[in-house]
Symmetry: C2
Subunit: 400 residues, 2 copies
Amino acid sequence: MPGAALLLRNGRPLGGALADVLVSDGAIAAIGTNLAAPAGTAVEDAGGALVLPGLVEAHTHLDKSLWGMGWRANDAGPGLLDKIDNERKLKRELDIDPARQSARQAALSAAHGSTHIRSHVDVDTDHGLWGIEGVMATRDSWREVVDIELVAFPQSGLMRRPGTLALMDAALSAGAEIVGGIDPCGIDRDPKGQLDAVFALCQKHGKPLDIHLHEPGEMGAFSMELIIERTRALGMAGQVVVSHAFCLGSPDRDLVEPLITQLAALDIGIMTTGSASRPVPAIKRLLAAGIRVCSGSDGIRDTWGPYGTADMLERAMLIGLRNNFRRDEDVALAFHACTQGGADVMRIADYGLAVGKAGDMVVVAGEVITHAIVAHPPRRLVVKCGRVVARDGVCLKPAP
Amino acid sequence: MPGAALLLRNGRPLGGALADVLVSDGAIAAIGTNLAAPAGTAVEDAGGALVLPGLVEAHTHLDKSLWGMGWRANDAGPGLLDKIDNERKLKRELDIDPARQSARQAALSAAHGSTHIRSHVDVDTDHGLWGIEGVMATRDSWREVVDIELVAFPQSGLMRRPGTLALMDAALSAGAEIVGGIDPCGIDRDPKGQLDAVFALCQKHGKPLDIHLHEPGEMGAFSMELIIERTRALGMAGQVVVSHAFCLGSPDRDLVEPLITQLAALDIGIMTTGSASRPVPAIKRLLAAGIRVCSGSDGIRDTWGPYGTADMLERAMLIGLRNNFRRDEDVALAFHACTQGGADVMRIADYGLAVGKAGDMVVVAGEVITHAIVAHPPRRLVVKCGRVVARDGVCLKPAP
């Protein structure tokens, strides 16, 4: 996708002094004052607002949102398997079409300034590759608005539903970029089985792993140790992410600290949504240990629950509240998880508000970054590779 | 303040069928279809949006917001006393004028649909009644927009700062409606001393108590028992509220359940913000026990931290997230805490969206109440006693 040329005038990059940002061929060519617009360059005025890099939605489920389908009262049971089984059943009943719904959520994300999305996408024996094919269609047709990568995700379990592994293999052959997994003890009741299988998929396809681990406390620590052992044994340092990692939210430091040491040594990344109702990793501690930390919206208004706006500035607020961040330098860590931290996890080489990087930018009102996080007002402009893709909180490409 | 006459057409009261709401002399005179507007009645069209009762902000600190004063990076230390001492020092340094700042926050609250506010207001020996006088001025001059009641609040401690008790007494004589208190162990290190003193103020002035209790676990349970004992001994059932009550968020059911039983027996109310970083009471359990439960924004962008928008629909979302409410009937409990529950605690007799009650209403987009909570879009209209006080997210009375 060739990029565009844009001169964004009178913004305050990262809350600093007024400056112009010039994008040429989709990449940032200059940041400075009184820049001139070469012929053929579109011009926008930021009016003194903040200019931020594109936000990074590093964990969501594009295939399953109910956004735009009319309100549906949630009737899932209380357990994790209740929600999983309920959702699998409702997918056809409600026609939660992954192509349509992922495009709707992509538009919502773009409206809020996300320029990159990592989406876990369900792979199961009821629906096969319906989700993967749908999100891939959106990935391709929305490429000029937002970059999307897919995790082949065995939401309903891998070992407990024979046939799922072959579908995962097919999803990866079809182009899903990342291998997924979920609660090898809690869901599959066979941690060795699932982890051997997903790591084997990584080896076969030469692709990284991003595994959901909701398991708390000692059980989660056990599963995490099994993940760590395989990462080390297979030489996969830097290629593994653990999403949620509630076990790291345990108050037992003797449980948590040895895990953090090993995660750091093997460059295993952590994704946290800053869940208010579950134990969560303390991101300040993770970042101090040198661990890559990213965040995401998780499910947006789906059969799991009604919440979510796909706004990664609001997410930074929720992470800040959960981590009790009050000083600007602490809130900056929550912002990091929603921007550069996501790029670190997704290995986005051309990410950042700097010359030579992609021309992905968000213009938003605020005196400083913390201000934009706590108020998270509608985005004035969202720019993807030099193209304006959203204005005043509305995505310019219509969703289906 | 005499009320106004208004016909609000085409709204969906509480998410039900389309109906009109007629307000006469400030009170709801009729709810039905095709109502006629008597002469002199203003007419507004809700356009099919939800009509909710006025939201109730039952715990905030109007005197200390920095809203509108320009961004200030938070530099308070980590402890509770750090924040208290830092704030007391900064009040004059930054000129955090309670009259001006309370009016600004009142406008913000009204813009988001709150029609009633309970504000704790600092009373201390450095600033005397500066806060009380300032918020009283706002209470009086903003009466047509929002009802405000004041808690005389010994933020800096009562026993540890001699002279504070006399100021509390003066604040109550001057018209503060409620007696406040704070962490009798944690702040004052003299639980008997503080609690005897604040209950004596209640007795002397014939006023109820609303006491901050951040103390967690066993310490908080001890303080709560002392509060319960005095409530019983003095015949003050129904006249006491415990704000925060983090001790009720303990996972130790043997600690929590006996407290809940006694709170219910003495009709002691509980205020929770749904804090994401501290243990919080499970409001479903409290409500099932018959305990009055309300909520509030607590501090809005003050020297304690940068968060807060004064939006009680967003607050309902935060309470829902914290309590892991996913079904509409559970999210309704969070909504209750931000509406009727607040009225129950503040003893607002004419509260509610029903004939004979005050004409306080909020018009907001949404298919159902849960929808309005998770999306919390700008309020289309806010009506106080039949008068439109905010439109499209903006308070019509200008803040200073």
